[in-house]
Symmetry: C2
Subunit: 344 residues, 2 copies
């Protein structure tokens, strides 16, 4: 198969880190531009994937703004996660994958482009029964959900709390919670999301913006005794929820939707309560996990999607050019994922 010489890609304009907290963007064009780049040539051990569909995760937005855990590559394609077909490879193992449909996370970005070069060992061949949208969002959210749920189980928590629970990740967690019988208290911003979360598996869903939320949460915490808070928001509500949780609770921050950050007047109560505050980063978890654990989790993820126990809700799908102007608006629709289709 002969590949074209050039391709379209959404590239970050600036390199390195910058102090732009939060994943919120006013327009993707503030951070990225559409460029014509040479289609990458595979190096030894690499495959070239023609990207069919890429997902948009908060980590992508942190990255293009310079506030992710790794520096931007100026002029390099953005986008960490996607699915597509292997169209070329160099070396025996890589060539053997040509023709395979795969899911991938590109460690240095590159999913928001028509083609991406990846080490053959990190692409994940897909079961034929997986839907394209499930394949495109198969790793970042599901693996994060699995790994954080693992943390809940290892902490022997009787129950746990998840913020921004109407997110794709929150819904995945709710399903795990139900299937494993560990009640999840789902915190959402909109009343309309309450029924959705209970349907997805949350034992209890509470609206943080409703009057009486603090009392409602205190009641649920007393009944269910949640000892882990999985938090994508990191705002004052998260902090207040954490301090209202029972002794020995852990506040696990895996995202920060709020740029201002909470005030912690009760931080002194950590002294007596055995509570702690920490972060969770999938990249670090992957580094620390054994390869057996990683493979096992990947298989479990595919099985859950294939069997319909998990599902990726897509709210919009944009071409590369449309994303520059339209991504910010598309992200305003709650409760699902926005996809980018590079070949569109």
């Amino acid at each position: 198969m002969t590949l074209p010489a050039t391709m379209q890609a959404l590239v970050t304009r600036e390199g390195g880190y910058a102090n732009n907290p939060g994943p919120h963007i006013d327009a993707l064009s503030d951070w990225c531009e559409l460029r014509e780049l040479p289609v990458p040539e595979p190096e030894e051990g690499q495959v070239i994937v023609r990207v069919a569909l890429a997902s948009v995760n908060p980590s992508d937005l942190h990255y293009v703004k310079g506030s992710y855990g790794q520096p931007r590559i100026a002029g390099g394609p953005a986008g960490f996660e996607g699915t597509g077909e292997v169209v070329a490879g160099k070396g025996k193992a890589a060539e053997g994958l040509v023709g395979a449909r795969v899911a991938f996370v590109a460690p240095l970005g590159g999913a928001w482009a028509e083609y991406v070069a990846l080490d053959h060992s990190i692409v994940i061949p897909l079961r034929p029964d997986l839907l394209e949208e499930d394949a495109a969002a198969q790793i970042v959210n599901p693996l994060t959900a699995m790994a954080m749920f693992d943390l809940v189980r290892e902490a022997k928590a009787e129950a746990f709390v998840a913020t921004a629970a109407a997110s794709q990740l929150g819904k995945l967690l709710a399903g795990l919670a139900r299937d494993h019988g560990i009640p999840m208290i789902a915190l959402v911003r909109r009343e309309s999301q309450l029924a959705l979360l209970e349907e997805k598996g949350a034992a209890e869903a509470l609206q943080t913006t409703a009057p009486g939320f603090a009392e409602a949460f205190a009641g649920a915490a007393k009944r269910l005794k949640p000892r882990v808070l999985l938090d994508a928001v990191a705002d004052q509500v998260s902090a207040d929820v954490f301090f209202a949780m029972p002794n020995r609770a852990r506040w696990v921050v895996y995202g920060q939707l709020d740029a201002e950050g909470p005030r912690l007047p009760q931080i002194g109560t950590l002294i007596f309560t055995g509570k702690r505050i920490e972060g969770f980063w999938l990249t670090e978890w992957m580094r620390a996990a054994s390869s057996e654990k990683r493979v096992g989790v990947v298989q479990e993820v595919q099985a859950r999607f294939a069997e319909g126990r998990w599902r990726t809700d897509v709210t919009a799908t944009l071409g590369l050019g449309d994303a520059l102007a339209g991504l910010a608006k598309a992200l305003e629709t709650p409760d699902g994922k926005v996809m980018i289709r590079p070949g569109a």
Copy 2:
């Protein structure tokens, strides 16, 4: 020996918890009053100690205000730590201690009284060469210093940071740091405390209120790579210091001198840095430590004082009645401990 029927004691006026953050008091008389109480009778296994000298710790002030980790006993004597002579006992082991000079922590309070009843197993017989002021402040601060230094060592920290380092506890930590070759960065509020801390053993002393503190700390952190912050203050300076520390740093809050608490706009960086925030409470550490470890630590503490490697700096000694009006003022003098002498 015949004991008198009644005694003087400083008792807490109210019981239970209250939301009065921080150890600061305007006057002890806001929280305590002087009462005549029956001298306690020993129950089986208990000794009666005639209190010679009691120390005033932040935990005492948190307790009388209702913001400590255990509820106040209304009308019960306050004061956790002191030294004195065993003057009575019930049961063989307790009677055998009569005449002994001991140090103690009274778990339910009682050191700010002429006599206190204690389980015989928790009083610590003293080496004859220990000074009275070292005996009166031998447990709370020294054991906390030892236990937290242990945490620094177990974390394999190359260096550590201590806030409010001109406190008695901070000075004990500085000595441990020097003796064990783990550099301590001492943070103090007053310029006059800088030389003191370096003399006590700090590798570096920095004034948090000086212009250019942030840059000075960043330089020290880069050079020494501290990964543990032992923090008695829990204010914005502590938070900023923590976020300026290297990856995988731990912020260990063991006191809260600041009632307002910090704002944490950078809490999202926990995701990528592997840092965490937790508390330290000596009572919990004691519960979790093996009895061998506890005994070993107690012996090491006495030896350090007896050999002059540690010293208790006393800034004032008050009688029970004088403390009601005078304690708050006496506590304003920095860099040392205030003592209460019940028999005075």
